[in-house]
């Protein structure tokens, strides 16, 4: 049993595991691609969400400017950690990237519309 088998897995594999059957195992290339996509989501996508969240919070928090900046920056690492872990528990790598894109877009909109 190699380590990839207990990895996050592609969607087909996870569906199979959930149903309790060992379905067709995706190829090695497919699994490696899945891991790479999730890792990219965690590292790059996570940073993107954290960055936009920091900017948005810094503008939107009802605190004096320097306090809002500090509070937003302190909180950003929590956001980053959550997104990073979520990239590996999402049903598929595509789902992870979709969630990240949505979050980034929503936060950017909030920043542009409501940030003075």
């Amino acid at each position: 049993m190699r380590s990839e088998a207990i990895g996050p897995g592609t969607r087909a594999a996870r569906r199979g595991r959930r149903r309790g059957v060992e379905g067709p195992r995706p190829s090695l290339v497919r699994r490696r691609a899945d891991v790479a996509a999730r890792a990219a989501a965690a590292i790059v996508g996570g940073y993107a969400v954290a960055a936009v969240a920091t900017a948005a919070l810094a503008r939107l928090l009802p605190l004096p400017r320097s306090d809002a900046t500090a509070a937003a920056t302190l909180f950003s690492f929590v956001v980053y950690t959550v997104i990073a872990i979520g990239s590996f528990t999402a049903p598929s790598s595509l789902a992870a990237w979709l969630r990240i894109s949505f979050a980034t877009a929503a936060l950017a909109t909030a920043l542009l519309v409501f940030g003075k």
Partner: protein, 538 residues
């Protein structure tokens, strides 16, 4: 939580831990050593006598600064303490871009004639910027990234562990099984979980606006296009800084009217009463000018904040200046988080507690790295065909876990053995550190894994255990003399080195014993950390 998600989290824990494990181990071990970096520097400068009265040292420092830089832009004096016996003065000349500094012997006020050494600062710089100097901030990105991996590893570790609280007391190190390593890893991880989480998270606070500048840019950036701003964030940084700590009294520009600054001793003595603790450092902005401002800072202690209490005085008259702003709640929280990581407030007992906890964190990472290899050993019953990846991981484990301590010991050896007047002495000591570290990796690659572990552990035992002896042979401040004089700094250092040597000796004996047992049984083990019994356990 479904099994599938739990398995994903366990997988992530193992891989995030492996990718960042060696960097994190170094950060934790160097950071733990940095808890005592002042003491290490003091041990590495044995020519410095124990400190004397801080006020006398202040007078001597003031005299020196008046001689060397009477009209500098700013003076700074750090007074001697039990942790650091020398006075450190810093100044920046009016048009200079660089700050000069000197260490003064506290007793005589003369520039110190101790051997040139970087002391404990090497470990500190390794810890937060991997000893990268140009640019300095590049190292911050690396340590910041490693810390994010650590946070992910901690959270996935917690989420994966099903019964973390119920199992609290049921860890038991059994004899030589794979389960033992897992138990050790859990034993080190779970009871100190708040500490691990606190240290990892607060470690990001000092570098947070460098690695996550987007809030600062959003609030303090200007109209230039974003890419242009990113190339040069200094303007935004300065705006943010002055917004945070604006105390107008402290920011007075020079009047260019000469006016001798009042004797610092009188100001310091007056301040000490109000500060509620001994004076740690004094800085003078615009010395010998009509707009001189003297800032007296208390020695850290008594509060979590990394900014100890301070008082401002007019330099020409000696009158106190009112402090008009007090920190906001957010600023206090940030200072407290920063302070928790630096532990400057720690008294000796708490300092040792931080040290012990830091060692436990380092050991947690080390056991994790070892577990990673051991868990995968069982998949390869054909002992002669180990995949290259596993071979490499095991070698890197040896070089990181035991090689780094050996390099630290070599650094101390170099400090005692290098001639006092050789050029760039401090740099040579640092080079020795890195050279020895690299050679442990080379040795590890050339030897079979089981022998390599026992050999490096034995070398570490010797390297540390012999330090008190080395100290006795090369200086006159050896262990016996220190104990007799009550010089606990020196005695403590030597004793700790001996204790570490004993610890490594114990490990070496254990590992060698296990290797002999498996060899006698005829099972060809590629790694001494295997045991022939693990196959029957999970």
């Amino acid at each position: 939580m479904s099994t599938s998600i739990r398995k994903s989290l366990a997988w992530l824990h193992a891989w995030a831990g492996l990718v960042a494990g060696w960097a994190l181990f170094m950060m934790f071990l160097a950071g733990t050593a940095s808890v005592f970096k002042e003491e290490i520097t003091a041990w590495m400068s044995p020519e410095l006598g124990p400190g004397i009265d801080a006020m006398d040292a202040l007078e001597a420092a003031e005299a020196r600064l008046n001689a060397v830089a009477p009209d500098a832009e700013r003076w700074s004096i750090r007074l001697p303490s039990e942790r650091s016996p020398a006075t450190r003065i810093t100044w920046r000349a009016r048009d200079a871009s660089v700050t000069e500094s000197e260490m003064l012997d506290a007793g005589s006020g003369r520039v110190v004639a101790a051997r040139e050494t970087r002391g404990g600062d090497l470990f500190y710089r390794l810890h937060y910027r991997f000893e990268i100097s140009n640019p300095v901030r590049r190292g911050w990105w690396i340590s910041g990234a490693a810390t994010m991996f650590m946070l992910v590893a901690i959270m996935t570790g917690v989420l994966t562990h099903k019964r973390i609280f119920r199992d609290f007391f049921t860890f038991r190190p059994r004899a030589a099984t794979q389960r033992t390593w897992l138990d050790a890893h859990l034993l080190l991880a779970v009871p100190l979980l708040p500490f691990h989480l606190m240290i990892a998270y607060t470690g990001l606070v000092p570098i947070m606006t460098t690695v996550m500048p987007w809030g600062m840019i959003a609030n303090y950036g200007d109209e230039r296009p974003l890419l242009e701003q990113l190339a040069d964030l200094d303007a935004a940084r300065r705006a943010y800084s002055s917004d945070r700590r604006a105390d107008p009294a402290a920011q007075r520009p020079p009047a260019h009217v000469p006016s001798p600054t009042v004797a610092l001793r009188s100001i310091a003595e007056q301040a000490a009463q109000q500060l509620g603790g001994p004076v740690g450092s004094i800085s003078v902005r615009n010395p010998n000018d009509a707009n001189a401002v003297v800032e007296v800072v208390r020695r850290p202690g008594g509060a979590l904040s990394n900014r100890p209490a301070r008082l401002l005085f007019d330099g020409s008259t000696g009158d106190p200046l009112p402090v008009t702003t007090s920190p906001s709640p957010v600023a206090k929280i940030q200072a407290a988080l920063y302070g928790m990581h630096m532990a400057r407030f720690a008294d000796p007992m708490l300092r040792w507690a931080y040290f012990a906890a830091g060692l436990a964190s380092s050991a947690m990472i080390a056991t994790g790295l070892t577990l990673w290899i051991i868990k995968r050993r069982r998949r390869f019953t054909d002992q002669t065909r180990i995949p290259f990846g596993h071979w490499l991981v095991e070698r890197l484990n040896i070089a990181a876990i035991v090689g780094l301590p050996i390099a630290m010991a070599a650094y101390f050896w170099a400090n005692r053995l290098l001639p006092l007047d050789v050029a760039a002495r401090a740099q040579l000591e640092v080079r020795t550190f890195f050279l020895v570290w690299l050679s442990t990796l080379v040795v590890a690659m050339l030897r079979p894994a089981d022998r390599a572990w026992a050999e490096v552990l034995g070398s570490a035992a010797f390297a540390f255990g012999a330090i008190p002896l080395l100290n006795a042979l090369t200086t006159d401040r050896h262990l016996v003399a220190s104990v007799v004089q009550g010089d606990w700094l020196m005695a403590g250092f030597d004793s700790t080195m001996a204790a570490i040597g004993l610890l490594f000796a114990w490990c070496a004996v254990k590992v060698a014993g296990r290797t002999r047992a498996s060899a006698a049984e005829g099972t060809a083990v590629p790694s001494a950390l295997d045991s022939s019994t693990w196959r029957s356990h999970e």
